[in-house]
Amino acid sequence: MRASAMTTELLQFTFSGLTVGAVYASVALGFTLIYNASHVVNLAQGEFVMLGAMSTVFLAAAGLPLPVAMILAVLISMVAGLALHRFAIAPARGADPIALIIITIGASIFLRGLAQIVFDKRFHSLPPWFGAEPIVIGGAAVLPQSLVVLAGMLVVLVGLWLFMTRTLFGRAILAASNNPMAATLVGINVPVIVAATFLISSLLGAVVGILVTPITLTSYDAGTILALKGFAAVMLGGIGNPPGAVLGGLLLGLAESFGAGLISSQYKDAIAFVILLAVLLLRPRGLLGGAALERV
């Protein structure tokens, strides 16, 4: 009896961990796309998640049908992504990596300030898609919305993979990420590619933000901590590595969920970072990062 209660609890932690992990993974994936194309670490990535969620809340409150509100919210987030690239990243080309980090943090503070004026400073939620009645799986109570988040994440992953490998434009993005110089030589317009990665990243963030809001709530300042977690997830997996980003995000979510459940809920954010530090000490380039070799 005790053992089965234990199993149920662990299953419970796994589900909630994967749900949060899916959000981190999507933010981390957005990071990776942008990083690969432009070597910019975009710490405003979390604001896309916030923008998607908050816009949906307010558009729906303004009387739009929920699906329309969602689509518009994704578009709003994408406009923000494009604007970020056009007005903050493109003019700073060739700047120091630390200067770029500060620029994206400036952008994140700006977007947060904007959200605080356009929206408000309160917490908001969205109605769950299939009700709030938990489904019991193996004894664990799982919110149907968790399954929506996981399914949504899977759809996004498969969609992104197909886009990257099957379409000409996606292949151009991969080519530009691998070797910008060669890509330019074969006629790929690299600045356009970089702009496209900002667009895709903001879409990713907004979609997951909308899906997860019924569970986690949202507010104008929800983006910062998501950006930090996403950054941590990227580094956990190894920077520039898309599967690493997804793996890092899911692991971070699981670590938090188990840490909060088994050790201390106050220190759940700390547990994620302690694990990150531990991994980096053992593998200085992340879980899926290669070995470092100094070339002289």
């Binding site: 120091d96 503070i109 300030g113 004026i117 970072f273």
Partner: protein, 316 residues
């Protein structure tokens, strides 16, 4: 005499000292003295960070954590432990150095963004402890800082703290200049420019990085203690939060990593700007974000180096 001063490597410290002595006669009210004290405090922390970033080329996105240790030491010591403020402050600096040593030993091996995220994590850990251990720290709402008592007389007055902070900054500046032009300073700059070349001439890279990391943590802790005394009330976010860390690194980069006066200029901008922006109420954050972006795009090398280059062009 004047000529010697102008050529001296200590010129920035002289300028700073002169400015500090002159300002009270120029500033219209004690409110401005308070703001100036905050500029000095943050300039001191940024100066320590500049030794790490500007001199040794190593990044820390968690430096406010060490500020938090210094700040809470002077609050917790007298309040909970019955230790007088000055020994508490010293203990805070020592603890900050110890933490920097323990954290720095493993993480300073990391490079680039990996070091950035690791230092960020360390800063967050310190901040979380300060937030969660409410019985000691008062939790997210923070705690009051008992007034400093020296020889049975309470140290009070905006003006007194203005001079204390100013003198601390000038001393910090002199020490930083000393370090820059010493064998250790050369070793650190060598590490910044080429780690592998530094190693083959016998520079112990790990040791030097650890040294400068600990030293910069000491600067941050001293600044944190001063911040606590000047403010009289501290919270985890205002002393050790992630945004504080970002503010510190922005001060360094905005002012210019190459110049001793850079952190002072950066601190002046980032402390005075939000004060000036409070008249815009809700638009404060938007404008701060815009200014951060605009400055980093327009002034790549930082304010002070850009200005000195302009000045040299004119005089040449």
């Amino acid at each position: 005499m004047l000529n010697r001063m102008l050529r001296s490597r200590y010129l920035p410290a002289f300028l700073m000292l002169a400015a500090m002595l002159a300002l009270p006669y120029v500033l219209p009210s004690t409110y401005y003295l308070r703001v100036a004290s905050m500029v000095f405090v943050f300039a001191l922390a940024a100066m320590g960070l500049n030794l790490l970033l500007g001199l040794a080329g190593q990044v820390s996105l968690g430096h406010a954590g060490f500020m938090g240790v210094g700040a809470y030491a002077v609050a917790i010591g007298p309040t909970h432990l019955g230790v007088p403020a000055i020994p508490s402050a010293l203990a805070g600096v020592a603890l900050s150095c110890l933490l920097a040593y323990l954290m720095g030993r493993p993480i300073l091996k990391l490079k680039g963004y990996y070091l950035a995220v690791a230092t960020l994590g360390c800063g967050l850990l310190i901040s979380m402890v300060l937030t969660n251990e409410a019985q000691w720290t008062g939790g997210p709402d923070g705690m009051g800082v008992p007034r400093l008592v020296l020889f049975d007389a309470p140290v009070r007055g905006v003006q007194t703290w203005y001079y204390v902070c100013g003198v601390a900054l000038v001393i910090g500046m002199v020490l930083a200049i000393n370090l820059t032009f010493s064998p250790t300073g050369r070793a650190l700059r060598a590490i910044r420019d080429s780690e592998v070349a530094a190693r083959v001439v016998g520079i112990d890279v790990a040791r030097q990085k650890l040294f400068v990391f600990v030293l910069s943590a000491a600067y941050a802790a001293v600044a944190g203690s001063l911040l606590a005394f000047v403010n009289g009330h501290i919270t985890p976010d205002s002393t050790s939060g992630f945004l504080r860390s970002i503010e510190l690194i922005t001060m360094v980069v905005l002012g210019g990593t190459g110049a001793v006066l850079g952190p002072v200029a950066g601190a002046a901008i980032l402390v005075i700007l939000p004060q000036a922006l409070t008249v815009f109420h809700d638009y404060e954050h938007m404008i701060l974000g815009l200014v951060m972006m605009a400055c980093m795009i327009a002034l790549r090398q930082g304010l002070v180096p850009a200005l000195t280059a302009r000045f040299r062009e004119r005089t040449a």
